[in-house]
Symmetry: C2
Subunit: 245 residues, 2 copies
Amino acid sequence: MEKAHDVLIRNLGEHTALADDDMAEIRALTFMLRDFAPNEDFIRQGDEPEHSALVVSGMVARYHLLGSGRRQYLAFHLTGDLPDAQGLFIEQMDHGLSALGPASVAFIPHRELFIAFRRRPTFALAVWRETLLDAAIFREAITNNSARPMQARMAHLFCELFYRARAAQLVRGNRCRMPISLAQLGETLGMAIATVNRTLADLRRSGAMDLRDGELVVLKWRELQRLGDFSAAYLYLKRQSPPLA
Amino acid sequence: MEKAHDVLIRNLGEHTALADDDMAEIRALTFMLRDFAPNEDFIRQGDEPEHSALVVSGMVARYHLLGSGRRQYLAFHLTGDLPDAQGLFIEQMDHGLSALGPASVAFIPHRELFIAFRRRPTFALAVWRETLLDAAIFREAITNNSARPMQARMAHLFCELFYRARAAQLVRGNRCRMPISLAQLGETLGMAIATVNRTLADLRRSGAMDLRDGELVVLKWRELQRLGDFSAAYLYLKRQSPPLA
DNA sequence: CGAATAGTTGAAGCCGGTCAAATGGTGTGG
DNA sequence: CCACACCATTTGACCGGCTTCAACTATTCG
């Protein structure tokens, strides 16, 4: 079992060259590990957090709650991600976080992080980069949900998740865990459940991918990419993984 | 005429306490000022920028171009904004920037910025904050375009722009410049031009606001806020402006 | 075994997209 | 000064895709 510190170091190392002193600083941080059940909230809209979260295993979601009561998922996070790094500078959370499937999350005190930033500016820059990658993913989500037809929209989401899962070494062969319900997909992509189901059925029928029992299987990567109008360029903030196919 | 340096200092000062040395460092930066005509591009998707932009006057837009040729606007920027601060860490731009109306933009070499960051960490944190505010705006756009009905969607956009314009001291009385066409509104909110027009007509009829001749007039702020399900909480990264009504 | 939840499928209706045409303002050139 | 072209806006009519609603199935868990 990889330790929480190592998960963070590996992820930041994807885009930033960390010196030994940087890693030592990270290892000296306090990580409070907690396990969460599926769909359990652990940060709520309106909270004023004093810790940053690190996904150690499982999948984590960020979401808005609207005045109408409706829920909108904003992003999903995998092992190694810092899903609320922006909380370091925000007085009040504008969105909540919850576990998707079972997940374990480490919490790091803001105070310690700021001290570490001062001592190791490279570490601060690395976390900054993480927040910028986040922003690039948000931008793509705006475009995806606003301008792409339903099938492409869904295909694009799975392309992104599969690509990121691969970078996080969570893909075995051509499959990875993806514990997300149809209702949640609908609240992510802005479509009704019935449409989610029918669109997913179309994708299955295309032979490019399957999603079943909380597992995503990509059978024809290039085809899925084509259907989703997906180009990984916006994720290249990270060092590029070896080409996928 | 406020100088470019002062515009930046004022904007960063909204959320970060800058020491005299920070301001001196900012004033020492090279600002290359350029004027742009309406709808002129100045950074293109795919570029590898070596300068950061600062909006000195006018309005600036960020947009994606899709494989289908369709355009999706991602965000609008006002005087004082750093619309591509994330370019500091991104090898390749995932989106383009253009002027909306006539605009003047200052360009600052990345090299100088990194040196200034090293000398004045507070300056770096202030720019980081700017990028996080950006991200909060992106998140809200995802929700807006995915989960809100047409009228609320449009009302929300104008609430945000008016609120930010006010913070940037661009509001005179109850109006501010807003040089955006119906077509561009459609490419922002993900609706067809015909729908944009009809929705805008509804908003006019409600008496809450008007948009005409490139100028936004807010007649009933509370009502507009209600129609748009708008809460400024996600912008509170900035010091809160005095309440609006 | 029964209740609850997730997924699947069908039918109906409407919202918003698409297409087309008319209006109005602006700037250019005759 | 008028004629014309061009562009943004406005409005109407049609149509299709998506939402809504409902029923049914499958699976899980008490």
